[in-house]
Every structure is written in structure tokens, then in C-alpha cells.
């Protein structure tokens, strides 16, 4: 561990990377949705409250915020909110399924400074993508990309969650990004939200993880990863980026009702540190919540202490362990040294995601027609 990484572990005065899910409302019903989105939560932050959050982030000098959802563009005040952020020095990077990026919206987005747009797709063709994101979602995302390109938005991002089905398509995905002058961003599949039910079928195999690691070593300078694959570092030379779990130290999440969670991938009571509506607001949660203080304490390597790879992988991802029922001080379920499989076999129960905003009708339909994976 470098000195800088040690300092990171003790936490920063404000997050580097803050995820803000603006709404649980979503027109899609992706099988891996981290926030089990679908229906709007009636307790959602009002426009004024959202603006107040931005003002607080500006005072804390949070450089930019990652806005997501749900589908953030479903909020009627989406543009006023991001306008306020970008004009007051809080850059915005937002993730969208692209449904609401038509010609007008694309022009409006292209006219803004300090704004990054990430269009989500989860495959290099309609069949692979729609399996995860729902029928028609591929065409929708491509239309949004076309609209951004036509509006001269510049370099937008294409965001892909790496799965067993699309990990073989990374070169094709890179080619799609190149065709738009866009940047490819790939992140790790987590067993959170609806992903808790699909992770076991969808996460890359051991062999695929090794291929992914080598692919990232070769092309890592051309793709963004949000540093999400640091568990692969146990395979050899480290991938670029911060090699540590940033939960409560350099990252956190604000959910649509203002709850603050340590990790963008664990919307669960056990990792809830407070609410932006509490006295003292977000700053007080970040600076003085008991949970964040605890996460900034030096951790024990636990069951990983005797493993020579621990310095490289840091035990992997807390969210992946939590939602697969593994001890947080043990191996990652996708441990590349093979300790994950044994740990998973020993885990008898896993915490369930404690919130579900899925649209009831969509859920019933999904239950009646189970998603069939591995069609090839």
C-alpha cells in the first residue's frame, strides 16, 4: 500500500466521487438494477431540497457528482437540477438509458458545460443487450447516441456492466464507442438490488475474469472502469486506478429520498449513515457519522490475511461480499485465487436487498416468465 492509499483509507474531507440516484422511477426493468428501480418513491427530495444538496456539495468542493437512478431524466426538474449544479461548479456525469434523449434534449445537453452523459447498454447487439435491459432498449439507446452525435455533443460515454454474456463482446463495444467518437466505460456486475437474483447466472466465469484482466491490461488506457475491477489485481500487475474499496472513504451514495449510504452498490440499512434532511445535512453525515468513522478505521484482512495476493486485491468488493452472504473480512465471491467459490459454498444465507421499487406488474411478469440466460 502506498502512503497515498493509506491516507485515502482514512477518508477525505469530502467525497471524490459521489453517486446521487435522483429517482427510483424508471421506464425499464433491467434484471441487474442495483437500486431495484421502477416506481417513484413519494418521499423523493423536492426540487428545493435537491438544489440545497447541490449548494452543500459546492461548499464542500465536491468537484462532480454522478447522477443516476432510476432514470434521472424522468424527473421533471432534471434540467433545472443539472443546470444549477454545472453552473455552480459541481460537474455532472449522469447515467441514462437514453429514452428521453431526443433531438431537442440532445441539443440542450450539448449546450451545457461540465456535463458528461453516459448511455447504458449491456451488449454489443440488440439480443445480448435486451436480455438484460428489456426488449427495445437497444434501439432506444442507439437512437440516443445518434441524437447526441447529431447535436455535436462531443465525447459522450457508453457504459457497460460486464456480464458472462457480453464479456466476449468488449472489442465490439469498443468499436461501437469509436464509431461515435465516444468513450467506453465498463464496470463490474454487483449482486445488489435486482442483481441479487441474477448475479449467480450473470457474473463472468473464472476464465472470463482472466481474459477480462488481460484485455484491461492491453486496452486499459482506452476505457474507463471506475476502478471497479481491482479484485483482478491479484492476477498480476495492477490495473490503473485506486486499488481500494472507497466506501465511506472517497465515495458514497445519496438515494432519491436523501438517505446516505457508504457504498454506491449497497442500498441497505446496514450501510446507511444518515439523511441529507438531518440537521447538519450531508456534510455532517460525511464528516461525523459513526458508520463512516468505522469504515475509515484500518480493516483486518481476516480470512485473507494468509493470502499472498491480499496487498494486490485488498479483499475485493464489500458490496459483492455483503449481498452474497460472505464475511466482509474474507475473500470476494469472484476471488481470482479461487477462494470465493469455497466461501460461497459455505455461505448459507445472504442479506436480501431491503428495498424494492420494481413496478409490481413488471415483477409479476418477470416471475411468470423467468429470464432465460445463457441462450447460446
Amino acid at each position: 500500500m502506498t502512503k497515498l492509499a493509506d491516507q485515502m483509507k482514512r477518508g477525505l474531507d469530502a467525497p471524490i466521487c459521489l453517486t446521487w440516484e435522483l429517482t427510483y422511477a424508471c421506464n425499464l426493468d433491467c434484471v441487474h438494477c442495483l437500486s431495484s428501480s421502477g416506481r417513484r418513491d413519494p418521499r423523493e427530495l423536492s426540487t428545493d431540497e435537491a438544489i440545497a444538496v447541490i449548494d452543500e456539495l459546492r461548499r464542500m468542493q465536491v468537484f462532480y457528482v454522478n447522477i443516476g437512478g432510476g432514470e434521472p431524466m424522468l424527473r421533471r426538474d432534471f434540467f433545472p437540477i443539472i443546470d444549477h449544479a454545472t453552473t455552480s461548479g459541481v460537474g455532472v456525469k449522469f447515467s441514462t438509458n437514453g429514452t428521453y434523449i431526443d433531438t431537442d434534449a440532445a441539443r440542450r445537453l450539448a449546450a451545457m458545460d461540465y456535463l458528461d452523459v453516459q448511455i447504458s447498454i449491456d451488449g454489443a447487439d440488440a439480443a445480448t443487450n435486451d436480455l438484460v435491459r428489456g426488449q427495445g432498449s437497444w434501439d432506444t439507446a442507439r437512437r440516443a447516441m445518434d441524437a447526441l452525435a447529431a447535436a455535436d455533443f462531443g465525447e459522450f460515454k457508453i457504459s457497460v456492466v460486464v456480464t458472462r454474456e457480453n464479456v466476449t463482446q468488449l472489442d465490439d463495444l469498443l468499436a461501437i464507442a469509436d464509431s461515435y467518437g465516444a468513450q467506453l466505460r465498463i464496470t463490474r456486475l454487483r449482486p445488489a438490488g435486482r442483481g441479487a437474483d441474477t448475479w449467480h447466472q450473470l457474473h463472468p466465469t473464472d476464465a472470463q475474469q482472466r481474459d477480462l484482466y488481460h484485455w484491461l491490461l492491453e486496452r486499459g488506457d482506452r476505457v474507463l472502469t471506475g476502478d471497479s475491477f481491482f479484485h483482478l489485481n491479484a492476477l498480476g500487475d495492477p490495473l490503473p486506478g485506486l486499488n481500494l474499496c472507497g466506501a465511506g472513504r472517497v465515495v458514497c451514495l445519496i438515494d432519491p429520498v436523501g438517505d446516505v449510504y457508504a457504498c454506491p452498490f449497497v442500498i441497505h440499512d446496514e450501510f446507511k449513515a444518515g439523511n441529507v434532511r438531518d440537521p447538519g445535512g450531508f456534510a455532517s453525515v460525511w464528516n461525523s457519522s459513526d458508520l463512516f468513522a468505522e469504515l475509515r478505521e484500518p480493516g483486518s484482512a481476516g480470512a485473507c490475511a494468509s493470502c499472498g495476493a491480499y496487498d494486490a486485491c485488498q479483499g475485493g468488493c464489500m458490496a459483492a461480499k455483503f449481498f452474497t452472504g460472505l464475511p466482509l473480512d474474507g475473500p470476494d465471491p469472484e476471488c481470482v485465487s479461487g477462494h470465493g467459490a469455497a466461501a460461497l459454498a459455505a455461505a448459507t444465507t445472504a442479506p436480501r436487498p431491503d428495498q424494492d421499487h420494481s413496478r409490481a406488474r413488471a415483477r409479476a411478469a418477470a416471475a411468470a416468465v423467468p429470464v432465460t440466460l445463457g441462450r447460446r
Partner: protein
């Protein structure tokens, strides 16, 4: 390509860079390039903030009384910051306006 600070001349912080103090020094974020860099010494932060008041990096470090042992590391750090456009040469901005 390595930038040598001796050839940079008068420097300043890029106008679209924000610097946030942290226990280890500071974080600097460039809004145009979206690059985030670490200033890993509190006095380096002072140096970066004072660049625009002095003729060059050396005179800035003289004015702030930077210890001999830190001058080499600070020169390398500022060269990296120049490469990342976090600091820029002053005449490129001001002499033209």
C-alpha cells in the same frame, strides 16, 4: 514527454482548476479535462497557489522558503501538473489579453 520546469517560466493555476485542501495536501480537479490529481504535500499546495505572484517556480519556492530537500520533488510535481494543464504558462493567457 517530460516538461522541464526551468523552461516553463511564469506559471499560474489554470482558471478552470479547483483545488480542495485535504489532510495530505490537496486534490486538484480540472473541469475541462476531468482530470483529478493529488498534491501530496501541504507546502506544494501553497506553492501552486502562489505561482502567479512570482516570476517562475524557483522564485516562488524561494519566497515561500521551501526546504532544499523538497525543491527537487516539487519541481517534478509541478512539471507533472504542467503536463496535465493544471498549471499553465502565464504569458499564454495574460499577455494577450
Amino acid at each position: 514527454m517530460t516538461v522541464h520546469t526551468a523552461t516553463l517560466g511564469a506559471l499560474r493555476l489554470h482558471p478552470n482548476v479547483a483545488v480542495r485542501p485535504e489532510p495530505f495536501g490537496a486534490l486538484a480537479y480540472h473541469y475541462d479535462t476531468r482530470r483529478l490529481v493529488f498534491l501530496r504535500h501541504p507546502q506544494l499546495v501553497d506553492v501552486v497557489h502562489a505561482l502567479h505572484e512570482h516570476a517562475d517556480l524557483d522564485t516562488t519556492m524561494d519566497a515561500l522558503g521551501v526546504a532544499e530537500t523538497l525543491r527537487g520533488p516539487f519541481q517534478r510535481a509541478v512539471a507533472n501538473l504542467a503536463e496535465a494543464c493544471i498549471v499553465i504558462t502565464r504569458d499564454s493567457e495574460e499577455d494577450r489579453s
